[in-house]
């Protein structure tokens, strides 16, 4: 406790405060730019931390990380483009809200939910690091496979209208993920004679293409920008306080989403890109008005944003305790720790406790700093987008996406893949196959394939290797969750009919 107090008070220094606000601002703008990920923002910042003290370096990186994950919400809300994969579900609700003139409401709610998520994540990190790290160790290949399958069944909620078309889109995404070198066998697959496809389809390239390009075509077709032109009326003043009350009035949603974010975060390799979708799906299931989802409801937006910001501190659990980066940005932080001679493990919480706890608490302060920075930055970005005529907005978005896609791997081929996928996504959307399940399939495909093939290899000596997928108790829990998730649309219809019948009978009596 004394260590925590000391760690807390060492942060009250002008340089630390400056680093937190500067880091959150830089992260916010990087996250808001499609193609620039949190990992890239941290990697760019890395050389600047070499001259800093270990604490200052870690504080700056933590603040940028927090800001970048939150910044992804801006692009998701304002131009239907998740700035980072952690904000995919934010776009489902935030963009319809922005289109109906409620952009400031959406930004305010996302800001508050992100700040709460960030703070909760830090709380979890401080209290639950050791037991959660133990749980993450119990995840083997079979469990990873079932995590992927559980994610795939979420398509039931992501598909607009048709479950079958959602599953088809998800399978297409998974198939897209198999292009290139096989993660287990090492052979090259599905390159169709194009050597450039050996590197596979980068998930963020597909994400940008499938979400942005169809939207650009739609704007061009309609001859106007997608956002409704609303003035800063008196109704918008006090939006933040109103949204604060609204967000806090859904404690169940917040607690559930934060728990989901934390559980997903401690599984290495999963991270915010899966957490936001799982939390969104669960919020929809638990909602009294699931039919409002996808049309601009705050519940979904809050679930997505709170869960993805929990993962920032949450993914530090396996990093700081086991040295396993939970997500790509964590690898950069691990690099900084090692650079300063700090080894993950118990020592980090004892000998170097002052530094470690200082870093953890600074992430909580960064979560708080998101509120003033986010509200000012959010309004600024919103005004710029509103005042830009559509004939400038369309080419500007195209330019930024081309730049962001190229910058990922310095590859012009990636830009080509992004445009092709975007055009195909636009055509598929016309026949009812939405982009979201394809992207989700692509994210889960790699996790699913590695889990599936490794399980089969582990069972190679057995006459039925597939049994390896069903053996462990944790696998059984995940299978049960997957079955419930897959059958949920039908279960909910049955429950509604049963309730309707019950009330009709009650009425008759």
């Amino acid at each position: 406790m004394e260590l925590l107090q000391k760690a807390f008070f060492q942060l009250f220094h002008p340089i630390v405060v400056l680093l937190i606000f500067g880091g959150v601002t830089a992260g916010l703008f990087a996250g808001a730019m499609p193609g620039l990920t949190a990992a890239m923002a941290l990697a760019v910042l890395l050389p600047f931390t070499f001259t800093m003290t270990p604490l200052h370096g870690l504080v700056a990186l933590g603040a940028v990380y927090m800001g970048a994950i939150y910044g992804g919400a801006f692009a998701a809300i304002l131009i239907n483009t998740p700035g980072t994969p952690s904000s995919i579900a934010t776009a489902f609700e935030g963009y319809p809200m922005a289109r109906s003139g409620r952009a400031i409401e959406a930004i305010s709610a996302a800001t508050i939910a992100s700040a709460i998520g960030g703070l909760v994540g830090v709380g979890f990190l401080l209290v639950l690091s050791p037991p959660l790290a133990q749980l993450s160790l119990r995840f083997g290949p079979a469990e990873y496979f079932w995590v992927a399958m559980l994610g795939l069944t979420l398509i039931a909620s992501l598909a607009e209208g048709s479950l079958l078309k959602g599953l088809l889109g998800g399978s297409m995404g998974m198939l897209l993920g198999t292009i290139g070198v096989s993660p287990i066998g090492g052979e090259t697959r599905f390159t169709f004679g194009f050597p450039v496809l050996q590197g596979g389809v980068e998930m963020i390239v597909a994400l940008i293409g499938l979400f942005v390009i169809p939207e650009l075509f739609s704007m061009a077709a309609h001859g106007k920008a997608a956002l409704a032109e609303v003035t800063m009326s008196s109704r918008e003043r006090g939006t933040f306080v109103r949204m604060l009350k609204t967000v806090l009035s859904m404690p169940g949603n917040l607690i559930r989403s934060c728990l989901i974010g934390e559980i997903v975060a401690i599984i290495p390799g999963a991270g915010g890109s899966i957490a936001n979708l799982v939390a969104y799906n669960e919020a929809k299931r638990a909602s009294r008005h699931p039919e409002r989802f996808g049309k601009g409801t705050l519940e979904g937006l809050v679930a997505s944003e709170s869960s993805n910001n929990v993962t920032v501190a949450g993914s530090m659990v396996p990093l700081l305790t086991l040295g396993v980066p939970g997500a790509p940005p964590d690898a950069v932080i691990l690099g900084v720790l090692l650079l300063h001679g700090l080894r993950p493990g118990l020592e980090l919480f004892t000998t170097s406790g002052l530094l470690t706890y200082g870093f953890i608490i600074s992430m909580g302060l960064a979560a708080l700093a998101m509120m003033p920075v986010g509200m000012l930055g959010g309004r600024l970005i919103y005004k710029v987008i509103l005042k830009t005529p559509y004939y400038f907005l369309v080419p500007t978005i195209a330019l930024v996406t081309i730049l962001g896609t190229f910058a990922l791997r310095n590859s012009i081929t990636d830009v080509g893949i992004m445009l092709v996928l975007g055009t195909v996504g636009y055509l598929l959307k016309e026949v009812g196959i939405a982009s979201a399940p394809i992207v989700l399939g692509l994210i889960l495909g790699v996790i699913g394939e590695v889990g599936f093939v490794q399980s089969m290899l582990r069972g190679a000596a057995s006459p039925y290797p597939i049994v390896k997928l069903f053996e462990n108790p944790l696998s059984k829990v995940l299978i049960a969750l997957t079955l419930v998730s897959a059958g949920w649309p039908y279960i909910s219809i049955w429950v509604k009919r049963w309730r309707a019948r019950g009330s009709a009978q009650g009425g008759d009596v």
Partner: protein, 151 residues
Amino acid sequence: MTRNVNTDVVGGLIGLAVTAIFWFSLKGIGRLSSMFPNALLLIMAAISAAIIIKGFIQPERRDLFAEGDRPRVVVTACTLFSWLFAISWIGFYVASVAAFSFLAYYLARARRRVGILTFVGWVLIIAGEVGILYLIFTRFLYVPLPQGILF
């Protein structure tokens, strides 16, 4: 002119076509690398068939490409692909200023009349906007943007 089509049958056929393309590409690939795609292709074929069957029993019909101006979508798509090829050929900056200016002019014509002087002013603004992003990416983020025969 738009056509009201059975999107279930079309979607299912697309699914089967994708399955077939990937299935034929899988020949000669080892067991470890083909294990997962094989399972996936079987599932995809089953889902596609189910969608087609649903299309005959309970079809979902829709007017394809009914919303908005279709030629503008085609021109926008062609401009984006031309932009991509021009980047490798003449360089990122020049290609981006040219493609951006054309797209802005073409899309603006749907809403207003664009005079020569206005357009020249736009090109200058666009050159500045692209220039700032070019500098940020090349000087601060160390991203080597394609040079081409110009820059």
